[in-house]
């Protein structure tokens, strides 16, 4: 059983972001070269995932979506079992039956994942209701994008959570992209946080590419939810640096906008901050990156060597 990852050391956040980046880029490369199943990568959004997940404790629960690798890895998921799942192998977290799009890991508290846009929003209120009624202390962190915020279910979820005072930390990773459509085409409101405020929910926007700012904002938001203040929404302003689902040539993306956001790469920024503070000697960074590369190599090898599910698995676990 994988332990929930803790973030007590100064380099933990960077290391987690580097792992996510290495994982995502390796899968994109394997899709291109070896025909692996495509994935919805979170390249560029690592700070939003790590910053929030770092503030959660082992009692808290996570709901996520198709763009979930950051949340899973930050929480402590084993990249080997994740890649096995992406490849549809029986050693994957979901016995190969999910593939990349809806990976859940109950023992890590990644309690339900839905790839229906907004699916996780529809389930979060129920998970939070369980926490409340069964008197469990953990809060429910629900990750979704700006695209999901345009679904009716976002509005229904926030309204009900507000009325029922549910312990939900809504985390909107606003990456400006809704599949192949830019957010400017889909909403007239500048910020999703503006919508949340209308439901009587405390909402805040933070620079989603600054892992420390995200962490601080998330810690504050989580503390409010824990204290029984009801649901809180944190909007992480970030950008999807790769396409919606690999392969994706991003021909529809404005080159200047993409370039500007690449310059705000969350990993580059955190490295620079640590280096400036003398906390990241070159050999240490090199050692970290090389260890991560080896870990991804081992994960890929594990997944490749793993068997597929038996044909009988086609009809198992349909009913309890």
């Amino acid at each position: 059983m994988d332990p929930i990852r803790t973030f007590s050391q100064p380099l933990d956040a960077l290391e987690s972001m580097l792992l996510i980046r290495a994982y995502e880029e390796r899968l994109a490369a394997l899709q291109a070269s070896a025909g692996l199943p495509g994935t919805c990568t979170s390249v560029g959004q690592e700070a939003s995932a790590v910053g929030v997940v770092a503030t959660l404790d082992e009692r808290d629960l996570i709901l996520t979506n198709h763009r979930s690798a950051g949340h899973l890895l930050a929480r402590g998921a084993d990249p080997a079992r994740m890649i096995a799942e992406v490849m549809g192998k029986r050693t994957g977290y979901c016995a190969g039956k999910s593939g990349s799009l809806h990976i859940s890991v109950k023992e890590l508290g990644v309690i339900l994942t839905s790839t229906i846009v907004g699916g996780e929003l529809s389930l979060a209120t129920g998970v939070a209701l369980s926490q409340r009624m069964l008197e469990r202390p953990g809060i429910v962190a629900c990750f979704f994008g700006d695209g999901a915020a345009c679904e009716g279910i976002f509005h229904e979820s926030l309204n009900l959570a507000s009325v029922w005072n549910l312990p939900i930390l809504y985390v909107c990773e606003n990456n400006e992209w809704q599949a192949f459509v830019h957010r400017r085409e889909t909403m007239n409101t500048p910020r999703i946080a503006d919508w949340a405020a209308r439901y009587g929910i405390e909402a805040r926007t933070v620079d989603g590419n600054d892992v420390r700012a995200v962490r601080a904002a998330a810690a504050d938001a989580a503390a409010r939810v824990r204290a029984g203040a009801g649901p809180v929404l944190l909007e992480c302003a970030t950008y999807r640096l790769r396409g919606h689902f690999e392969p994706d040539d991003q021909a529809y993306v404005d080159a200047a906008e993409l370039s500007a956001w690449r310059a705000k790469d969350p990993i580059v920024r955190e490295k620079a901050r640590l280096a400036e503070a003398g906390a990241l000697p070159d050999e240490r960074l090199a050692q970290m990156e090389s260890a991560i590369a080896r870990r991804i190599d081992a994960a890929v090898a594990f997944a490749k060597e793993s068997p597929y599910p038996e044909f009988a698995q086609l009809t198992t676990d349909v009913y309890a």
Binding site: C94, K97, G119, I153
Partner: protein, 324 residues
């Protein structure tokens, strides 16, 4: 044995389930308002009104069921289930499989349907086949007060998501209901009347139409066996086949529209497994492939009537038998 209406039987099942298991809760539009006795006994945390938002109600039920509660969500009228499809079909029905068995979704979603109240096509639409076709769901539709209580009790105890359809025309129907807790197991049909010449298979109000037809048929010397499916998914294939192998003739009757209705499934099952025992083709008497009408006389003929059932059986019996 006490006599209760179906409405009262539902209330009893809910009360007993909530007494038995503190994880059972109920919510939906007007649930608290309409069930003050439940609120009085179990409190407003466990018996809740909600906004008019079927998608989030169903999602809340699914999320709660996956994490330790046993929700009963009242979605009022079957056509409103269209709003709830993602949570019921894509989450509750599929995520156990998709997660590799990590989660289960013990929820009950209730909805009313059926002609008799002239509410029209957006309140009356028998869509049980939609959910029977979707993986991971169970579907029940009782025809007697005892079964309303027993099937609801069983549905609440089931570890899977159950669609519990309430035929509105039966709500005030009275019947004997055993006192105390009992369950009617899911997946078990009931023989409502024994017979030898023809099998009538039905559920909900059509069971009563078949029983009426059977009385008239008996006076004409035709002995009809009436099977009440009770559970539509999983279908009690054994009971269906046993009866048809005995009588050699089958008429399936349901209010739901013809195309791809439950009757089509029963007919296919019988053709696959009891073809050699059939003396005549399978007949389906169903609602038309049309939205239900609000006008009372139109609504009345939407569901197959006893006279039509009787006529269909007589025509079958007059038809050339393939053998003795």
């Amino acid at each position: 044995m006490p006599t209760l209406t179906a409405q009262q039987a539902i209330a009893e099942a809910l009360t007993e389930a909530m007494r038995r298991d503190p994880r059972v809760l109920m919510f939906g539009e007007g649930v608290a308002t309409k069930r003050p006795e439940l609120v009085a006994e179990f409190g407003s945390e466990r018996v809740r009104n909600t906004p008019l938002a079927e998608a989030i109600l169903a999602g809340t039920a699914a999320g709660a069921a996956a994490t330790g509660l046993r929700p009963v969500v009242d979605l009022l009228f079957a056509p409103f289930l269209a709003y709830a499809m993602d949570a019921l079909v894509n989450s509750a029905g599929k995520l156990r499989f998709v997660s590799g068995g990590q989660f289960s979704f013990p929820l009950v979603a209730m909805a009313m349907t059926g002609g008799g109240w002239a509410v029209g096509a957006q309140h009356n639409h028998n869509i049980e086949a939609w959910f029977a076709h979707s993986p991971g769901l169970k579907v029940v539709m009782p025809s007697t007060p005892a079964d309303f209580k027993g099937l609801l009790s069983a549905a609440i105890r089931d570890e899977n998501p159950v669609l519990f359809f309430v035929d509105m025309a039966l709500l005030n129907q009275e019947g004997e209901v055993p006192a105390g807790e009992f369950v009617v197991p899911l997946g078990q049909a009931a023989v409502r009347r024994s017979g030898a010449d023809v099998t009538l298979i039905a559920y909900a109000k059509s069971v009563h139409a078949c029983l009426q037809a059977a009385e008239a048929l008996a006076a004409r010397g035709v002995s009809a066996e009436v099977i009440d499916l009770r559970t539509l998914k999983p279908l009690d294939e054994g009971s269906v086949l046993e009866s048809v192998r005995k009588t050699g003739r089958l008429v399936v009757v349901h209010e739901a529209s013809r195309t791809c209705g439950i009757g089509a499934e029963v007919a296919a099952l019988v053709a696959e497994h009891a073809f050699g025992d059939l003396r005549s083709p399978v007949v389906r008497l169903t609602g038309p492939d049309a939205p239900s009408a609000a006008s009372y006389p139109l609504e009345q003929v939407f569901a197959p009537q006893p006279l039509a059932i009787e006529a269909a059986v007589l025509a079958l019996c007059k038809g050339a038998d393939r053998g003795a």
